[in-house]
């Protein structure tokens, strides 16, 4: 590196790039300087005064969190003056802070507790009565206990800067200062809980998690959020097969610490009272609980019979099930049932994109690209991680973000250019930005379901015509929407029925629906069709079924999923729910019952087969196994887009809705912002 600055910290020589803060330089050589308000990625605050250090020739202690390194600087962090300053700061912080750590929700993972232990005075000189303020409920998610607050401003900054929501502030003055919500006595925000997780103390706690456990009693399982297609890692805190919380404090995964309300709190659908825990079989017109063996026998018997007489099958897969399950299901349909009538609820036209370019962006690209263009999506509502990445890129690297949308979006706060268009007119809007985009050194284009079929090809042609490197993201709705398309849950070219065609086929003999709810807004024309449904809940489709098999959620199984950016990541089973089985296991049991051999129905074995056979999926195993993300490469040869492109339609989910799973999350529906809307 060109301009390294040399200095010494605690007698050790350090070299750091110019502009590095002393607190960071110290961390590089293993010297930890304590701080509450300093937080990498957020603006500097210098409010807590915990990071004071002694600098030679400086007249007094300096805050190392705002002090850039300088040539020949001599810093000491271990002198009596520094230690005394830390002791004093902590003594002040504790004047009104309740010392009830044993019953505080943060006990055991509290930064203040740790700091007092390591740097604090053993006793306090304050004998006055502590000022007490009652706890406040800002929302069903966010609770605030003022006396515990150390006024580090982390929550205010993550909300203002990180999310751009600006829902928190500090009101009043001096000892009366406290965090205030944007609606006077309550919050109106994304309810993402970033403020709660970033709080170093027990001042902000979540209504979902608080007072249920001690943190050390949980197992922490890092898996992929099962809601939208952004592919965030959420670390589930599990005790006795109950998920108690979700967060990603260890910053594993492509999302770092970021999660929205779905990833952090909406896991509770798993424990819904309405979960199916036993198979159901239609007997005398009524769905009745039966044993697995009886239900599987009924399915196998019907499948075998219909296949033998050359009947008509329809198979609808899921946007939430794993790649392994999707792969096995289409293999089952094509090889064992001999049908090409396979589809899933398509939410974006990724197939056409993969057919015309190999230049695909990752989540990391969104943070590093010099410029990005968002077409036809309310990103902050529909793809919160991508919105967070772009905003962080703008904050840290002054990236220029352009939007072509049908209404106001949060990116307008900082966008470098925008075009408001009618839905369907997006390409014209993109064209209006041509001159600006042409001047950019590179570009990532993110587009929603408004761009499909021919429009995708035109958009890529537009990208090519700019004469700069362009990468693409096709925005999809659900956690494995991309995987469903990649694994072949699409009609067999030349004759396979699409989803609406299956529903409309009066002569359908069997409809097999896995993790989807096509009858929510549709009707099944074939009255006599035998319907098999695998799902977590008795959905509209399951009510019409002849056999309902209770399926496990993504949090109860292993396997891989592919995010909208094509990044393949592994799920890790966090718990078991009695009675429910992973869909892959169910496929295997049906196959065994039918006496057919489709290979081992185990995630590892099927993933290996996927790596061998699915184009682009020869991803490095160690990366996946270690919990990393590997981007599935776009196929070398263009792939013919399967089925009709115009079937892709986004459900236009907001931050507070997400298909069937979202309906069964109490947390998601408890906030007053739900269900929300796009472009407001």
């Amino acid at each position: 590196m060109a301009d390294l600055v040399r200095l010494t910290i605690d007698g050790k020589p350090v070299e750091a790039p110019a502009g590095t803060l002393v607190i960071e330089a110290a961390r590089c050589i293993g010297v930890e300087i304590p701080a509450f308000c300093y937080y990498p990625g957020l603006s500097l605050q210098a409010a807590c005064r915990m990071c004071l250090v002694e600098v030679e020739r400086a007249p007094k202690l300096l805050a190392s969190c705002t002090l850039p390194v300088a040539e020949n600087m001599v810093v000491r962090t271990d002198t009596p003056a520094v230690k005394q300053a830390r002791r004093s700061m902590i003594e002040f912080l504790l004047t009104n802070h309740p010392l009830d750590c044993p019953v505080c929700d943060k006990g055991g993972e509290c930064e203040l507790q740790d700091m007092v232990f390591r740097y604090g005075a053993g006793e306090s000189r304050f004998s006055e009565v502590k000022q007490h303020v009652e706890e406040k409920r800002f929302s069903p998610i966010v609770f605030f206990d003022a006396p515990r607050c150390v006024l580090c401003y982390r929550c205010v900054r993550i909300c203002n800067e990180g999310l751009g929501v600006r829902a928190l502030g500090i009101v009043n003055r001096g000892v009366a200062s406290e965090i205030g919500p944007n609606r006077g006595d309550r919050l109106e925000c994304d309810e993402c809980g970033a403020c709660i997780d970033i709080c170093p103390v027990g001042a902000l706690t979540s209504g979902i998690y608080r007072y249920q456990t001690r943190p050390w009693e949980m197992q922490h399982v890092g898996t992929i959020c099962t809601f939208c297609a952004n592919g965030c890692k959420t670390t589930l805190g599990v005790r006795n097969h109950r998920i108690i919380r979700g967060n990603n404090r260890d910053r594993s995964g492509i999302n770092g610490e970021f999660l929205c309300i779905k990833g952090r709190y909406a896991f509770d659908f798993v424990h819904s009272e309405e979960r199916l825990q036993t198979p159901l079989l239609r007997v005398n017109g009524e769905l009745q609980p039966v044993s697995w063996s009886r239900a599987l026998a009924a399915v196998a018997e019907k499948f075998t019979e219909v296949k033998a007489r050359g009947g008509k099958f329809g198979v609808i897969g899921s946007n939430h099930t794993t790649n392994e399950e999707n792969y096995f299901l289409q293999k089952f349909a094509r090889q064992a049932l001999g049908t090409g009538n396979i589809d899933h609820q398509r939410t974006g036209d990724v197939a056409t994109l993969l057919g015309c370019t190999r230049s695909l962006a990752t989540v990391a690209d969104l943070y590093s690209t010099k410029a990005a263009l968002v077409v036809g999506s309310d990103l902050a509502q529909q793809h919160p991680l991508y919105a967070f990445q772009l905003r962080a890129n703008w904050r840290h690297h002054q990236a220029r973000v352009y939007t072509v949308t049908e209404g106001p979006v949060r990116e307008d706060q900082y966008s470098a250019g925008r075009a408001r268009v009618q839905r369907g007119e997006e390409l014209a809007g993109v064209e209006r930005l041509r001159e600006q985009l042409k001047a950019e050194p590179e570009l990532v284009i993110l587009f929603g379901d408004a761009i499909q079929g021919e429009a995708v090809r035109k958009l890529v042609a537009f990208g090519d015509s700019l004469g700069i490197p362009v990468k693409y993201v096709c925005l999809l709705d659900y956690s494995n929407s991309r995987g469903a398309a990649d694994m072949g849950l699409t009609p067999e070219p030349g004759g396979g029925l699409t989803l609406p065609e299956m529903l409309a086929a009066w002569d359908l003999d069997v409809l097999w629906v896995v993790g989807a709810n096509p009858l929510k807004n549709g009707e099944l024309a074939a009255d006599g069709a035998f319907v098999v449904v695998q799902d977590l809940f008795l959905t509209e489709t399951a009510r019409r079924a002849d056999v309902v098999l209770p399926a496990a959620s993504a949090y109860e199984k292993s396997g891989t999923v592919t995010s909208a950016t094509g990044e393949v990541q592994a799920l890790r089973a966090a718990l078991k729910v009695m009675g429910a089985k992973p869909d892959l296991e169910i496929f295997g049991l049906i196959a065994r019952e039918m006496g057919i051999d489709l290979g081992v129905a185990m995630p590892e074995a099927v993933f290996e087969e996927i790596r061998q056979t699915v184009r682009g999926y020869n991803v490095p195993l160690p990366v996946i196994a270690a919990g990393g993300a590997a981007q599935a490469l776009a196929p070398e040869a263009p792939v013919a887009a399967a089925g009709r492109a115009d079937l892709a339609e986004s459900a236009r989910n907001t931050l507070f809705t997400s298909g069937t799973l979202g309906r069964y999350s109490k947390a998601l529906n408890s906030v007053e912002e739900a269900p929300g809307g796009l472009y407001r």
Partner: protein, 160 residues
Amino acid sequence: MTFSPELETRLETLMRSCPPGREASALIPMLLYAQDETGALTSEVVEEVARRLGITPLQADEVISYYSMLRRRPAGRHHLQICTNVSCMLRGGQELYGHACKRLGIRNHEVTADGEFSLEEAECLGACSWAPAMLVNYDYHQDMTPEKLDRLIDSLEKKH
């Protein structure tokens, strides 16, 4: 909402005097002038000022709740601020404040029923040389005694 033409001109000048992109620097004077005209920074006023400066009402409220001279609720027609900080306290500021409470029948941050008077126990007014000091709206009254305070209140009562 709209303000008087005079205030509009004043706010406009304030905002123009800030460097581009730094208009929010005009927040405090804008709030103060708006308060002078409207009597208090009601939610409506705060929202309007915040909108003009491109900040959230909460960000304005952070400032309002910090400064004692900015008020969310209307003060009396005559707003009495009596200093009880060190210099004034040594010269009888506490007694003066206590006398005002008794005479007006209100306490700190309260307004008389007729809306004529309001009272505030103030921190240093910068008039230590003439302690104890007090303010009636923007006017200083110095070397105060309970008797002088009585006469002052009498004269203010006659005014209306």
